[in-house]
């Protein structure tokens, strides 16, 4: 995989990678529009299997929109999405999704274990009873994020970091091959960030693929293998070592990054 991932400097650098059945997520010509303004314009992106990939770009660049459109959560004007070489509907069981924490009402009357069990929905359907095995899977997922003591807690009692861990546990309970996370580190404490990155790296070591919308440029090189830069159009993609360059960032952020920030990145990258 990785050897084909050269820096796609401009959008429309079409390759045959979208047809690669091994890629967990390949998107071609994705255009999404809110009203008359395009949020994404003709975006191509191919993510490598068994790696941790970051989706990076300035605020309002369409990072979350990219993830949502790839998952079919919001309608796209045009574009093709392949998940492990299949259409979205056929690959649903292989995808786990962690939405932004702020996207739900944490005052909802339910418990932590109930939320994690939502990750088992496709196995449970409308009526199947929650068996001991299903509950064990959910409890195990909670343990992996260090929240096993919180199973019966009302979700409104959780801190922001704990909420994020519960969302990750729900995704783990899906037992998927591709994990899509929308800003998993937004507003969480340092311990939670560490715990989440450990879980994601464990997933990677088991050969699973992780793609996360990420806003903290200073940790991209430390956490991720692959980066996809976006600002309405695709601004570059490839291994962090070759694609996450000050030039690519300047292009993506359009001068919105201060020179000192770029210097810092150059140092951490070196």
């Amino acid at each position: 995989m990785a050897e084909t991932l050269t820096l796609a400097a401009t959008h429309g650098a079409r390759t045959d990678r979208a047809a690669d059945p091994a890629s967990p997520l390949a998107v071609r010509g994705l255009t999404v529009s809110y009203g008359d303004k395009p949020a994404l314009f003709s975006v191509d992106a191919t993510f490598p299997a068994g790696a941790m990939s970051a989706i990076v770009g300035p605020n309002g660049a369409g990072k979350s929109t990219f993830l949502k459109a790839a998952l079919g959560l919001i309608p796209a004007v045009s574009g093709e999405v392949r998940v492990f070489g299949q259409g979205l509907a056929a690959a649903r069981d292989r995808i786990a999704y962690v939405p932004q924490r702020a996207s739900v009402d944490w005052d909802f009357p339910t418990t932590v274990i109930d939320v994690v069990l939502m990750g088992r929905y496709r196995r449970l359907g409308l009526f199947r009873r929650v068996s001991r095995a299903e509950r064990a899977a959910a409890t195990d997922a909670l343990a992996r994020v260090g929240m096993e003591g919180f199973a019966d807690r009302q979700i409104g009692q959780l801190s922001g970091g704990q909420q994020q861990r519960v969302f990750l546990a729900r995704a783990l309970a899906q037992e998927a091959d591709l994990y899509l996370l929308d800003e998993p580190f937004a507003g969480v404490d340092a311990a939670t960030e560490r715990a989440i990155i450990d879980v994601l790296k464990a997933l990677k070591s088991q050969g699973q693929s992780v793609i996360a919308v990420h806003h903290d440029l200073s940790t991209v090189a430390e956490y991720f293998d692959h980066v996809f830069l976006v600002n309405v159009r695709a601004m570059g993609e490839g291994p962090v070592a070759t694609a996450f360059t000050p030039e690519a960032l300047a292009r993506t952020y359009g001068g919105r990054l201060a020179a000192t920030q770029l210097d810092q990145l150059r140092l951490t990258g070196a």
Binding site: L73, D105, V115, M118, Y121, G156
Partner: protein
């Protein structure tokens, strides 16, 4: 509690209770989805729909009423979108304009048309006719097993019973998708759940409950029962299933207590006439909500104190 009660109070109480439960069940989900006013909206839009359906068909049979109400609801949705886009105002305001305008139109239409042969007037639309839904053929509790007397039950009773049973069945059958899509729409979509269809079905179910209840008990109860019992129930528990049971209990309590208070309360106080049962039932549900706000065990939102 003898023959008088069976004749004059049993059926109105049952109809009021079933109507309250039929509205409270979908109300639980509407409130959690921040769509509580949909119930309010539907019960207003229903009026012109029902009047037009009556004018077209000349009957107050259930099917044309339901179709009329459905068409009116659809028209309302289209109008709201149109006003929101063309007028560039916020959705809440657009909703308010459309529903009050349609309701007012319904009132005017009602006044201008000859509906003297049927139970269709403004007062009926607001308050229903709960007190008149009596069971004259009943001679006592024995009538409950007398087929002849049973065949003379007010027609509203089996109708609202079927709708209440339908609401209960839908709640049970679609419990998981309803709960999941209400809590986390994005995640539900990612699982492949038909989230938009679920949301639309919920509104349609609420509309069916509203139309059936409107027919028997008027729009005041409909509006109150969509909101008050579920909102009070939310303050009693942190579990959705328990909340739904509480809402059923509160709906039942409101209907029974409200009917009894309306019928006998003024007499106890020395007045010689009863007050509107619909008004009293809605008032009791409001009082229950007030008490739940003051004394409910989960009135304080714990998440706020825990901090983000």
């Amino acid at each position: 509690m003898g023959a008088d009660f069976v004749q004059f109070s049993l059926t109105p109480i049952l109809i009021g209770t079933l109507a309250a439960i039929a509205c409270a069940l979908p109300g639980n989900f509407l409130i959690l989805r921040r769509q509580a006013l949909i119930g309010d909206a539907i019960s207003h839009v229903v009026l012109p729909g029902i009047v037009v359906a009556f004018l077209v068909t000349g009957t107050v049979a259930a099917l044309p009423m339901l179709l009329g109400a459905g068409a009116a609801a659809l028209l309302a949705v289209v109008l709201i979108e149109a006003i929101r886009r063309l007028g560039r105002i916020e959705p809440g305001a657009a909703m308010g304009v459309v529903f009050t305008a349609l309701f007012a139109g319904g009132v005017l239409l009602l006044e201008q048309s000859d509906t003297s042969r049927v139970h269709l007037d403004v007062e009926h639309a607001l308050m229903g006719n709960l007190e008149t839904l009596i069971w004259l053929r009943a001679t006592g509790w024995d009538s409950l097993i007398d087929p002849v007397a049973l065949s003379h039950l007010p027609v509203e009773l089996p109708r609202i019973a079927v709708v209440a049973a339908l609401m209960a069945a839908l709640t049970v059958i679609f419990w998981r998708p309803l709960k999941l899509s209400t809590f986390d729409e994005g995640f539900a979509r990612a699982l492949g759940l038909p989230v938009s269809a679920i949301g639309l079905s919920l509104v349609i179910a609420a509309a069916v409950a509203a139309v059936a209840a409107f027919d028997a008990v008027g729009s005041i109860i409909v509006i109150a029962m969509f909101i008050c019992p579920p909102a009070a129930a939310r303050l009693m528990t942190n579990s959705l299933a328990v909340q739904v049971w509480w809402s059923v209990a509160f709906a039942t309590l409101s209907a029974v207590l409200g009917y009894v208070l309306a019928g006998y309360g003024p007499l106890w106080l020395g007045f010689d006439s009863a007050v509107s049962a619909a008004g009293m039932i809605a008032t009791v549900s409001g009082v229950i909500l007030g008490l739940a706000c003051l004394f409910g065990p989960h009135r304080a939102r714990v998440g706020v104190a825990a901090g983000g």
